[in-house]
C-alpha cells in the first residue's frame, strides 16, 4: 500500500475506486496510522497538556474545582480532536526543571490551572516556543493569556450580601495563602467592607487551607473567644464553609439565626448541606472549556498570546444567611 494512498485518504483528488480499495486494505490489515510519526512530521501532535497544582498528589482532582475545570477542558479538547495529558506540580512550589517535560513535544500547548502567585515555572515557559494559557488571575506577565474568575468582584458581592443583611462583624476564612484566588477574595472582602464605610478588623481575618478542617478549626476559634465574635462568616470555599457549619452545629450555634455563613464555589453538597448553603457559583466548567479555545487559537491559528477573559461569579441564595440579629 503506497504512502500516497494514505495521504490521499485526506485529500479529495483520488479515484473513487482506488480510494475504496485502499480503505478496504486498511481495515483488512487492521492498519492504524501512527500519531507520533505523524506528529514528528507535522510538528503537531494534537495534544494539550494540563498542569494542576496540588499539595497531595493523589487527591488533586477530588476537589470539585479541579474536577470541573478538568471536565470542561476534556470536553472541549475532545470535541476539537485534541487529547489531554495531565501533569501535577506538587506543593505549590513549582520547579522550572519540569519545563523540559512540558515542552518536549508531547504537548502542543499547555494550560496552567491556578498556579501559585509566584509562577516560576510558567516564567520559564517563555524561553520556549510552546503556547500556554493560565487559568487564574493576571498576576504574572501581562502578555500571557489568562482566563479566570473575577475573584475580587465575586468576594465583594458575597460580602455585600452579608452587609445588606445588616451584618457588621464579618469574618473572612481564607484558603491557601500561596494562591491568588484566596488573596484576591481577601481583597474583595476588604473592598466591600471599606465600600460600606466599615472598618477592617484584622482579628476577623483567618487564613488557612482550602478544606473543611480549616473551616472547622477557624470557626471554633472565632466563636469560642471572649469577645469580638462575628455575626457572619465569609468562607473562601464551600469546603471551608462545610467545616464551619459543622463546628457551629457542634457548638450549638444556629445557622443562620445566630450566625450567617456564606461559601464559595457552589460545589456538590452545597444545596443539601444543613442549612443549604448560600454561596458564590463559579462557572468552572465554562472556564475550562474556554481555556482550551484560547489555547487552540494560539496553537492552530497562531494568534499571539495576551488575551485575557475574566468571568463573573453568581450569587446563589439559599438558607445560610439571615438578617443580623444583634446590633452592630
Amino acid at each position: 500500500m503506497t504512502v500516497s494512498h494514505v495521504l490521499n485518504n485526506r485529500s479529495e483528488k483520488v479515484g473513487a475506486v482506488t480510494r475504496e480499495r485502499v480503505m478496504q486494505v486498511i481495515d483488512e490489515l487492521h492498519y492504524s496510522p501512527s500519531a507520533i510519526a505523524r506528529g514528528l512530521s507535522r510538528r503537531r501532535l494534537d495534544s494539550i497538556g494540563v498542569v494542576f497544582y496540588t499539595q497531595t498528589p493523589s487527591r488533586l482532582v477530588s476537589a470539585s474545582y479541579h474536577g470541573d475545570i478538568l471536565g470542561g477542558i476534556l470536553e472541549a479538547a475532545t470535541s476539537r480532536g485534541q487529547s489531554t495529558t495531565l501533569f501535577t506540580e506538587v506543593g505549590f512550589t513549582d520547579n522550572h526543571t519540569r519545563v523540559n517535560v512540558y515542552c518536549d513535544g508531547r504537548c502542543d500547548g499547555l494550560i496552567f490551572v491556578a498556579p501559585p502567585a509566584e509562577p516560576v515555572l510558567i516564567r520559564a515557559m517563555e524561553h520556549t516556543q510552546v503556547p500556554f494559557v493560565v487559568i487564574g488571575e493576571p498576576l504574572g506577565e501581562s502578555h500571557w493569556s489568562y482566563i479566570g474568575l473575577d475573584n475580587i468582584a465575586a468576594a465583594k458581592t458575597a460580602v455585600e450580601h452579608l452587609i445588606a443583611h445588616g451584618h457588621q462583624r464579618i469574618a473572612f476564612l481564607g484558603g491557601n495563602d500561596k494562591l491568588s484566588s484566596s488573596l484576591l477574595r481577601g481583597c474583595g472582602y476588604r473592598e466591600a467592607l471599606s465600600g460600606a464605610g466599615m472598618k477592617i478588623d484584622p482579628s476577623l481575618t483567618l487564613p488557612g487551607l482550602y478544606n473543611a478542617e480549616t473551616g472547622y478549626q477557624r470557626a471554633v476559634t472565632l466563636m469560642t473567644r471572649e469577645s469580638n465574635r462575628p455575626t457572619a462568616i465569609f468562607c473562601c470555599s464551600d469546603d471551608i464553609a462545610f467545616g464551619a457549619l459543622k463546628a457551629l452545629r457542634d457548638l450549638n450555634i444556629n445557622v443562620p439565626d445566630e450566625v450567617s455563613v456564606i461559601g464559595f464555589d457552589d460545589r456538590d453538597g452545597a444545596a443539601t448541606s444543613i442549612p443549604p448553603l448560600t454561596t458564590m457559583r463559579q462557572p468552572v466548567i465554562q472556564i475550562g472549556y474556554q481555556a482550551v479555545e484560547l489555547l487552540l487559537e494560539q496553537v492552530i491559528e497562531g494568534v499571539p498570546a495576551g488575551r485575557s477573559e475574566m468571568w463573573p461569579a453568581e450569587l446563589v441564595v439559599r438558607d445560610s444567611v439571615a438578617t443580623c440579629a444583634v446590633d452592630g
Copy 2:
C-alpha cells in the same frame, strides 16, 4: 553538536570533559530533546492512557471515585516517569472506533476504568498490540488483566452488618445498571440475605443511577408506600446515601433510630453528613496506583496480561446504623 553526544548523555562511557562541554552547549541553546522523535525511534513514548466512562462528559472527575482513581494513577505514573493522558467514553456505550485513537502510538498502554459490563471497545483492543489493564471486575475475557474491588464481598459485609443489627427488611438502592459494580453489589446483597436464611423481596431492590437524586427518589418511594417499608437501606454509593438521608430528613424519619442507612465509598462528606454515614471504604487510590504498576509490567517488562488482583473494602462504622427497633 553530534548526535552521539546526546546519546552518551545517557550512557556512562563518555569523557567527563566532552560530557561537560555537551551539557554546556545544551543549555546555551535551550535545547530540549523531542520526546516524540525519541518515541518514534524507540517505539515507546512513556505515556499511559486512562479511559473513563461517564454520562456527562464535563463532570466525570467530580465524582470522588474517578477523582481518586485518577489521583492514584497520576501519582504512580509520574513517579515512574510516565505521562498520563485522559480519555472519556460518553454514555457507557463504548464505541470500537475509538480504538484507533487509543492505539495510535500516543499511549504505550491503557487503563480502562470501570468499563460497562459489555466492553465492546476493550474487546476490540485485542486486535491490537497495545497492552491494557481493566479496573473493575473480571467479567470480560479471563486473559485480560484486572484490578479492582471485591464488590460482592464488600456488599455482603455491609448487608451482614445490617443483619447483625437485627434488620430483616433491607432495601437495596442500586447504581447504574450497566456497570458491573452495581450489579455485583446487588449479588452481594442477595448473598448476604440468603446466607442469613432470609428471603429476597424484589420490591426492596430499586435500581437507579450513582447520584443523590436516585437516593432521594428511591427513599421517598420506599418510605411512603403503604406496606413493606424497609428498616434499613443499603445504598450502592455514598452519593445515593446522601440523597436518601435527605429524603428521610424531609419525611421526618429519624436515622438511625427509625431507619438505618449504609453507604459505599466513604467519600468526602461521609464523615460529616447527618448523621455521619456508616459506609464501605474502597482503597481507590491504591487501586489506581496498582493499575499503573500492573500496566507497566506489561509495557516495560513484557509480562503477559492475565493477572488480576481484587482488593477488599473496609467497613467504616459511624452513626447511621442502629439496632432494628421493630420486629421482623
